[in-house]
C-alpha cells in the first residue's frame, strides 16, 4: 500500500507539469535557436579577444595611424574624404540588418513571398558590403602598399620641416601628431606607371634606385622615407627620416576585418541556402513560423553587431 502511494504521487507530478515527458522548451525557445544564441556568445568572445588584442597593442605604442587619414579615399573621386567610404559600408550592412528583420517578421506569419523578397535584399546588402571591403583592401594593398608586416601610415611625434631636393630646408613644415604616408615606387615601372598615385601628397622627383638622397632615404623595397629637420622637442635641429608606422597595424587590420568579412561571406552562403529552402517550401511542413529564417537572422544581426565595434575601434577612435 505504501508503494502504491509513492507511485501515485510520482504519476501525479509527471502529469501535472509534464517535465519528464519531453516536449517542453526550456527558456521557451526551440533547441536550434537556443544553441545559435550560445554559438553567438562564443563567437562574441572570439571577436572580443581580437579586439582587445588590438586595444592592447594600440595602447603599447606611442603613435598610431589616424583613421581619418588612412581611410580617406573614395572610388571615382579624387582628394580626401575622411571616413566617407567606411560610413557608406556601415550603412549598407545596417540596412541589410533591417531587411533581415523584415524577412523574419514575414516568416512569423508564414508569408513566403515576403520572406523571399526581404531575404533577397539582405543577400544583396551582404554582397554590397563584401564588394566595398574588396575595394578597401585593394586600395590599401595595391595603391598604398600596406601589408601584414609593413605599415606605411605613421604620425610625427614632433614638429619639423621637410628637406628639399637640394638637401636644404623646404617650405613644407608639419607639427607633432601630423599623419604621413610613406610612398612606394616601383623601380621597374616605366615613367607613366611610376607616377605618383592618387592621394599622394609628396610628388617629389623620381628615384631611380635605392639609396640615400639629399631629401629622402629610399629603401631596398622602394619605400621613400622623406627626411626632415626636427623643429621642437629634445631632438631639435637633428635630421631624421620618416619611419614606418606601428607594425601591428596592418596585421590587426587585415586579420580582424578579414575575419569579420569571412563571417559576412559565410552569412551570405547560409542566407542563399535558406532562401532556396524557403522557395522550395522546406519549412512550411515544420509549422514553426520559419524558425530557420529567424536563426540565420540572429547570425546576421550578430555580424552587424560586431561591425559596430570594428567601426568604433578602427575608424572612429
Amino acid at each position: 500500500m505504501a508503494t502504491d502511494t509513492v507511485d501515485q504521487k510520482h504519476t501525479d507530478v509527471s502529469t501535472e507539469n509534464g517535465s519528464w515527458e519531453g516536449g517542453a522548451y526550456p527558456f521557451k525557445v526551440g533547441y536550434g535557436k537556443l544553441m545559435i544564441w550560445y554559438f553567438l556568445l562564443s563567437d562574441a568572445f572570439t571577436f572580443a579577444g581580437f579586439l582587445i588584442a588590438y586595444g592592447t597593442l594600440r595602447f603599447s605604442t606611442p603613435t598610431w595611424p589616424v583613421p581619418d587619414f588612412v581611410y580617406s579615399l573614395f572610388p571615382f573621386m579624387s582628394g580626401h574624404h575622411p571616413l566617407l567610404f567606411v560610413s557608406f559600408m556601415t550603412f549598407v550592412l545596417l540596412f541589410s540588418s533591417f531587411t533581415m528583420i523584415r524577412a523574419v517578421q514575414e516568416g512569423h506569419r508564414e508569408n513566403r513571398k515576403g520572406i523571399v523578397i526581404w531575404m533577397f535584399l539582405t543577400i544583396l546588402g551582404g554582397l554590397g558590403f563584401l564588394g566595398c571591403q574588396a575595394w578597401e583592401w585593394t586600395t590599401l594593398i595595391a595603391r598604398e602598399h600596406m601589408s601584414v608586416t609593413t605599415n606605411p601610415f605613421g604620425a610625427h611625434t614632433e614638429g619639423g620641416i621637410y628637406l628639399g631636393a637640394d638637401g636644404k630646408q623646404s617650405e613644407e613644415s608639419f607639427t607633432a601628431h601630423t599623419s604621413y604616408i610613406i610612398h612606394h615606387i616601383d623601380f621597374n615601372a616605366t615613367h607613366e606607371e611610376g607616377a605618383p598615385e592618387a592621394g599622394a601628397e609628396h610628388e617629389g622627383h623620381a628615384y631611380a634606385a635605392p639609396g640615400d638622397y639629399p631629401d629622402a632615404l629610399v629603401d631596398e623595397r622602394g619605400y621613400v622615407h622623406r627626411k626632415y629637420i626636427v623643429a621642437d622637442g629634445e631632438n631639435a635641429g637633428k635630421i631624421m627620416y620618416e619611419k614606418f608606422g606601428p607594425k601591428a597595424f596592418g596585421a590587426l587590420f587585415f586579420f580582424i576585418t578579414g575575419f569579420h568579412g569571412f563571417h559576412v561571406f559565410s552569412g551570405v552562403l547560409f542566407l542563399l541556402t535558406i532562401l532556396v529552402n524557403v522557395i522550395g517550401g522546406v519549412y512550411v511542413a515544420r509549422h514553426n513560423g520559419n524558425e530557420m529564417v529567424e536563426k540565420i537572422g540572429l547570425y546576421w544581426h550578430f555580424v552587424d553587431l560586431v561591425w559596430v565595434f570594428v567601426f568604433l575601434l578602427f575608424y572612429l577612435l
Binding site: P26, F27, K28, V29, L34, W37, Y38, L40, L41, A44, F45, A48, I52, A53, G55, T56, L57, R58, F59, S60, T61, P62, V66, P67, D68, P82, L83, S87, T90, F91, L94, F95, S97, F98, M100, I101, R102, Q105, H108, R109, G297, L298, H301, F302, D304, L305, V308, F309, F311, L312, Y315, L316, L317
Partner: protein, 125 residues
C-alpha cells in the same frame, strides 16, 4: 496576430532609423574631434571618445534587444547569454592596463640606454 505584426514592423523601422542617426552623429563627432567640421578646432579627445563609446554601446543594445529580439525572450535565456559577457569588462581593463605598461617599460629602457651612452666616455677618462 496581424496587430502584432504591424507593431513589430513599426518597432523595426523605428530601430533602424535610430541606428542610422546615431551612426551619422558618431561620424560627425569623430570628425569634429579631429578638426574637420569646425576648421582647426580639435575637440577634447577624452570627451569625444567617451561619447562615441557610449553611443556604440547604445547601438549594440538596440541590435541585441530589438533586432535580435532579446527583450522578448525568457529571463533565463537573457541571463545565460548576457551575464557571461560581463567577464569582458575585466578583460578590457586588464589588457589595456597591460598595454600601457608595455609602453611605459619601453620608454624606461630607451631612457636608460641614453644614460649609459652619456656615461661611458666619462668612465674611460
Amino acid at each position: 496576430m496581424s496587430h502584432d505584426y504591424q507593431g513589430a514592423k513599426k518597432i523595426a523601422l523605428k530601430t533602424i532609423i535610430i541606428l542610422a542617426v546615431v551612426t551619422v552623429v558618431e561620424v560627425m563627432i569623430a570628425l569634429t574631434g579631429k578638426g574637420y567640421v569646425i576648421q582647426g578646432y580639435h575637440a577634447p579627445k577624452l570627451l569625444m571618445n567617451s561619447l562615441m563609446i557610449g553611443m556604440s554601446l547604445y547601438k549594440a543594445y538596440l541590435i541585441v534587444f530589438e533586432f535580435m529580439h532579446m527583450k522578448y525572450e525568457a529571463k533565463g535565456l537573457r541571463m545565460s547569454v548576457l551575464l557571461p559577457v560581463c567577464l569582458l569588462i575585466w578583460a578590457v581593463i586588464a589588457f589595456l592596463y597591460e598595454g600601457n605598461a608595455w609602453k611605459h617599460n619601453r620608454q624606461v629602457v630607451l631612457d636608460r640606454n641614453k644614460i649609459e651612452l652619456t656615461q661611458t666616455p666619462a668612465k674611460t677618462n
